[in-house]
Symmetry: C2
Subunit: 889 residues, 2 copies
């Protein structure tokens, strides 16, 4: 018999934190907290396997599920001494989703389930607070009718508002118990009117409905979108947690709150959270009431006038602080916690490893290592490599003048500049059209996910640091300002006003997520600081990794940046980029248009000194770090003009007639340029091009050696080889040039000759090619194109169909296709090493900066990866994690 239901709390606990896949994150951690002896309201979890079975069997449940639920419910009754549906002593429960990975706000929750016209009176008697009981009942009706029965919550808010208007009330607290009773009647009528059926009174029926709704929410649209964005497979399913209710809204000694054991924004080692006196949990997360701080220090810092929890409920605060410490010690990581205080008693409702910004992640990892809680390797494993991206890009210049429009909460750090837009669909549409946008909303809801994803940053007028906008923005790495209270949004006019200023849709603003400032116009930026925690962690990463990290760069500026980010060499210097510069393009075109070899040689002679200077500049920066320089790769037609005006200009400049120019362009035209006359095929047809480039490299080495005393190391790379003989012929020519330059300059230049492996045949024939090649660099962009038979330029037309139908899980141009392309890489590495054991192997496709692909490269035993300058630190970290994981595997 499959065990579908696991109990927790009140002494009997079936699960623990290791069972996350089965119980979901929330369920597993509730079980774990129970086992630790922490106060957890008793309950039980329906496993994720129930969800999977439900969807696998046409949305029906396993036969033996109900009996297990009944038994578990009986156990909760026994632990609490209450009865589910017992009019005199009713057990109320919450029903919540809980997937393997956190999906904040994505799925539905029902509280106070078990209330009906009879049990509400029992709750009134038991609590001695009829108003509380009726308030709970109306909350239950609102939530249940919305989540389970599909009604809009506005229906109930409208009834409430018009009632308050009629009575002349301003605040909810003015509503009496009797008033609530009247309103409950109206709520129930509204349900009947809208749906043609009564609000369910049977607690068992209520429970079944709620369970259906939670499982059903796994496949609602916003959950599907979230999963896609976060790479969560649908097959994981969600668990459902059914737990005895505790009440934070039983008066002034009751409260509810959320907290992080450390600051998730900065990583500072101080509690970070909010609570509300006399409220239910959903009130905090929803961001409707403005909550109070946990600590006195935080209150003072923010200049808040309401008392902190430390001040208002000192005993419970102390108990909470102990719990925080226990949880951090136990989990060895920063925790994100939900708790409720019911009449002075603390109850723990959730703990999980807290999301954090990249900056906070670094701070926490470095601190915890210093505290002795984790090792350096563990600290390295704690940082998501891709998240470093947030730290590596320019931020707002703190010293530049700022034109502040409004100040809100610093909900998610980072700076962004973009055009104001007021709704998510439009944000998405503008982003698709290439615009950078800032999404400005009163508050965000799960329906805004796509707009938040499309935006550079998010600004909300309402909500706290743990509001939906804040939590989601931090998860996505988007800068966010929440609770920017002076902003008045006018959706109709598509503008907002703040302190008398008006900002219209399309106006440029700057968001500073670190301070909560919203600035007019595009503010000045500064380069990132690469010291402190970043430097510490990178040092630990470097001592863990075995994979070398190089960069793909050709301009001195990029090479400088990469060097400052720790690049240990150049893995790919694309020489063609050098020809596109206006000053050289003319000569290069002259070469293309020349009638014969002599003409080409004459034009190339003019490029030689310029190209030599290009290489010299790079060698000066890289000193004795190896520089892989790829000889000309793209087809020649890419260098010819395409439009009328340019053709005329080039004809004028080169003295070639327009007719001849167009004829040459036509002659060079290709049906499939990807598979055409490019790479080493040009070197075979026009050896003088590669000879000029090789000469420029070797002469630059000699020059820099003379100048600096350094011994620059060149790795001359031949692209697009598919046949060993191509490399043999070209390699011999290049070696001849080296000999000639050495003879002319009297300097011995240090170089290797190798090849890109970027065609399937090159991978298959790697053994033969390695007899000439001293190194291989896997050009995974082209290798992916040819292995899949997929043109990157054209794939956009059908890739959306492929993603929608689940044919590809990840874009193979972003994350290396390990099964297909990876298979070729492994095979090439094996065959290459067999014929030349000391061959140097690296990768220079864009995959070189993708953490998953880097792990693959580590496991293949490559010597290095090469990536764009800004990805160098990411690659260093990913390489370290790959090494650490492999060690412990």
């Amino acid at each position: 018999m499959t065990k579908w239901v696991y109990e927790f709390g009140g002494g009997t606990t079936d699960g623990d934190t290791s069972m996350k896949n089965l119980l979901g994150g929330k369920g597993a951690n509730l079980a774990e907290m129970s086992s630790l002896g922490l106060p957890v309201p008793p309950g039980f979890t329906l496993t994720t396997e129930v969800c999977t079975a439900y969807y696998d069997n046409n949305e029906t449940y396993p036969d033996d599920l109900q009996a297990q639920i009944d038994a578990a419910l009986k156990a909760v009754e026994a632990k609490t001494g209450k009865g589910f549906g017992d009019a005199s002593n009713p057990l109320l429960v919450s029903v919540r989703s809980g997937a393997r990975a956190s999906m904040p706000g994505m799925m539905d929750t029902v509280l106070n389930l078990g209330l009906n016209d009879e049990t509400v009176e029992g709750l009134a008697k038991l609590s001695g607070d009829r108003r509380f009981a009726l308030d709970s009942y109306r909350r239950f009706i609102t939530m249940y009718a919305n989540v389970v029965m599909g009604m809009h919550h506005h229906t109930f808010e409208d009834i409430l508002e018009s009632f308050k208007e009629d009575e002349g009330y301003f605040l909810d607290t003015e509503i009496t118990a009797d008033n609530w009773e009247t309103l409950i009647g109206e709520y129930k009528s509204a349900v009947n009117k809208a749906l043609g059926k009564d609000f369910p009174q049977d607690p068992q029926a209520q429970l079944s409905g709620a369970i259906d709704a939670v499982f059903g929410s796994w496949m609602n649209e916003r959950a599907i979108v979230y999963r896609r964005l976060q790479d969560i497979p649908a097959a994981w399913g969600t668990a459902v947690n059914i737990q005895a209710m505790v009440f934070g809204n039983m008066g002034d000694t009751s409260a509810t709150g959320v907290a992080f054991t450390r600051d998730p924004s900065t990583g500072e080692n101080s509690y970070y959270g909010e609570f509300l006196i006399n409220a239910q949990g959903e009130d905090v997360v929803a961001g409707i009431r403005t909550p109070q701080t946990l600590t006195k220090l935080a209150r003072e810092k923010m200049g808040d006038t309401q008392p902190s929890m430390e001040e208002a409920l000192p005993d419970v605060y102390a108990q909470l602080a102990d719990t925080f410490a226990a949880l951090e010690t136990h989990y060895r990581d920063m925790q994100d916690i939900e708790f409720t205080v019911e009449r002075g008693k603390l109850w723990m409702l959730q703990t999980r490893t807290g999301k954090r910004t990249a900056k906070a992640a670094l701070q926490i990892a470095v601190d915890m290592a210093a505290e002795g809680m984790i090792s350096h390797d563990e600290a390295v494993m704690r940082i998501e490599p891709a998240s470093l991206d947030q730290l590596l890009h320019p931020t707002l210049d703190p010293d530049a003048p700022r034109d502040v429009i409004s100040i809100g909460l610093p909900a998610s750090p980072g700076a962004a500049i973009g055009k104001v837009v007021f709704n998510s669909d439009e944000a998405e549409a503008m982003a698709k059209a290439g615009e950078k946008v800032i999404l400005v909303r009163l508050e965000t809801s799960p329906e805004d996910i796509h707009g938040m994803h499309a935006a550079q940053a998010i600004v909300t007028a309402r909500g706290g640091m743990t509001s939906h906008a804040a939590v989601v923005a931090r998860g996505m790495g988007r800068p966010c300002i929440s609770g920017a209270g002076d902003i008045r949004i006018n959706e109709e006019l598509q503008q907002f006003s703040a302190v008398g200023r008006v900002v219209k849709k399309g106006d440029i603003v700057t968001v500073d997520g670190a301070t909560g400032q919203l600035l007019a116009g595009a503010a000045a930026m500064v380069q990132p600081e690469l010291s402190g925690n970043f430097a510490t962690l990178m040092e630990w990463a470097d001592s863990a990794r075995t994979l070398g990290i190089r960069t793909n760069a050709e301009t001195p500026a990029d090479v400088e940046t990469a060097a400052s980010f720790g690049a240990e060499g150049i893995g790919l210097c694309r020489t063609e980029h050098m020809f596109f510069e206006a000053s050289r393009l003319g000569y290069f075109r002259e070469m293309i248009l020349a009638d014969d070899k002599e003409g080409r040689v004459a034009a190339l002679a003019k490029i030689l000194p310029v190209q030599r200077d290009d290489f010299a500049a790079i060698f000066r920066i890289m000193e004795e770090r190896p520089c892989t320089i790829r000889l000309l790769d793209p087809p020649l037609h890419e260098f010819l003009p395409t439009n009328e005006a340019e053709v005329a200009a080039v004809a004028e400049a080169t003295g070639v007639s327009k007719t001849d120019l167009l004829a040459r362009a036509k002659q060079l035209h290709e049906s499939n340029p990807m598979l055409g006359h490019r790479g080493c095929r040009l070197g075979i047809s026009y050896p003088e091009i590669y000879e000029m480039q090789a000469r420029a490299i070797f002469e630059a080495q000699a020059k820099v050696m003379e100048e600096t005393g350094f011994n620059p190391i060149a790795e001359v790379m031949i692209p697009l080889v598919s046949i060993s003989k191509e490399l043999e012929i070209l390699s011999a020519k290049i070696a001849d040039i080296a000999k000639a330059v050495e003879a002319e300059t009297g300097k011995a230049v240090t170089y290797k000759i190798g090849t890109m492996i970027e065609l399937p045949r090159a991978a298959l024939r790697a053994g033969g090619i390695a007899q000439t090649a001293e190194f291989f660099s896997f050009g995974t962009n082209d290798l992916t194109q040819t292995t899949f038979g997929l043109s990157r330029d054209d794939a956009g037309k059908f890739m959306p169909d492929y993603v929608a139908q689940g044919i590809v899980e990840k874009d193979p141009f972003v994350t290396l296709d390990q099964n297909g392309v990876g298979d070729l890489i492994k095979l090439a590495a094996e065959r290459g090493r067999e014929s030349r054991p000391d061959i140097k192997l690296g990768i220079c496709g864009e995959h070189g900066g993708d953490p998953a692909s880097i792990t693959f490269c580590h496991n293949c035993g490559l010597d290095y990866v090469s990536c764009s300058p800004y990805r160098v630190p990411i690659a260093r970290l990913a390489a370290a994690q790959a090494a650490i994981s492999a060690k412990s595997a």
Copy 2:
């Protein structure tokens, strides 16, 4: 110590026929004939390794070569009892090249070497014929000055002609011994005048010079061209044969001749050859004097007035006939022989397996099998599969009226129609421009090779059945008429006249190589006869082969042709060809231009009945042979109009505006269509297309089943799969359609669903794909393109450079690249079979008709190959040969 020199003849023989690679064909067979006890003039062979060493070491010889030559020459002196350079009893030798493969007329020969002013007198005394001795000396000077010293033979011919004019002579026979002496003096002066040095008198120096010349001729331009055309590697090298001279020009009991043991043109079992009384061997091959027949029967057949050898020299003829029989018995194949009769004594100078036409090859193989000389398998191995092509194409209708211009010798069979051209460069240029040309020459020489290759057929005014033109044309499979004596070519006017008619350059003529008739205009043709020897041999082939043979065809006419050629199924029916027909193209364009799925479905509904009829027609012909039908493959833009007029017409026809039409075309434009939105990617984006096609297939099956009672077998093939899931999705849809059609028609249709393996990733992931695919068909055209990263459409721009530099030996689009592409095929076959042991594997690229590639497919264990209809017999034969070779390996 390396043995560089091998002796033969006169009792001591070092080599045998198995040593062809080392001794060359001529050397090995001279040794073999010696061993058989046949009369071979003694001599020795310098091995091909000398040639290789010579070129590997900068054209210098191995140190120990000269000593070995000296020793071998001493042995020949001993065997003949003559002395090299001995004035009283001179040994004369011939120096001839002899490569591993026959290269007729490609390389140089020197006869009578060893003659000088002194030895010529010795020869005169010895032979008792001073005129003969002097004639031999002048021949030697002419040849040696030409071949070794680089002078033109016209120089000597001019001297001779003007001498004859001065003396009033008409025939060479009128020239006296004294005249020759005078002329020899003039010849020697001419050499001195032209080269500034004397003609060498030292026989050792003569010999060294001749050896240098023969090795040097291995790298002359015509040898290089011939090797390229015949796929002979330069690394094979040539051997040099030095052999004691025997003289066919010692009077009327001397003769020289060439012969085939059976007719090389028809295969008839009767001697076929020519001889000349009182002549040296070169006289026959050069085609200058018109030779006599060997047999009386042949003489009578040709109406020749000169006596045959059978009549003129009956004793020697009888000896020759015995030798022919001995050689055929020994070599078990038809032989091509050179012989000389010196004063009534027969000497064998060469034997080799004779070249023959495809028709003759069939006749000889079938006859020899009937004679019990060879087995059926050996008979099958005797036919070059590609040569069958000559027999499979239409030939001249024997019953149609013929406008005969001239009749010559039927030198090489086959018929061809083309435009007359008079020189080889022009023939090549016109052929490159797409014209079919007939090369008409007085006679051909090795300098004409490129023009003969470019021409459809060759006609010469001079020369016999074994003239240069005849031998080379037969080797190339070109029809040829030689010795068309009525033709008078006027090169200046670029025309020829024959019996009063004038044919100008560019006029259309028809060559009938089987009868020797040259016809005016384009004559009527008939389909080939596939019975007789062809049918017999094919039957033997079929019983030997294990590989199935299918065809690539989609029109009923092609399918019929293929069936008549023995296709056992269709391996590739390209459905897109069906859409290009005018009647459907409109609907198909309507589909492409539709705004939405509904519009597409509506247009496809119009195509359905037409497409169903297409398939029904094929099923009717193929009955219960399997038909692999590939669903739509090319990108949609291929179906849209490209020029202005067509765009207007389509706009008119479809009611879509020109602007919208151009916009759609632009939207569909791709950078690399080879790697774009095509194949199954279309099926994923527009499932309705494949659904319509699947429905058409299944409905056609049901219809034909109803009609004929046959159970047509469909294999539905999905193109361009790279990811298993593509096939899973489409396969499920197609199976649903089959179910629906079965329900609608009440007929159970027999079908499989499978995929092309034409992308490297598909090959690598074959294991996963085979979980869905019931068959694989290797699409080696696209697989070659993607594995090499080489667009077939664009490769033409640089392939000539690749061939010239020896980077590719064979076009990978013609002969499968076994090392790269083949590696993927092997891997895919293995992985596919691992996950589905009974998966059917075939190949449907153009390689399916290439014999070398078929051998590879057999060795990979594929189930079948598929090729174009006319290649089916070739494939059957190649498959049989692969099976027989594998059995004996």
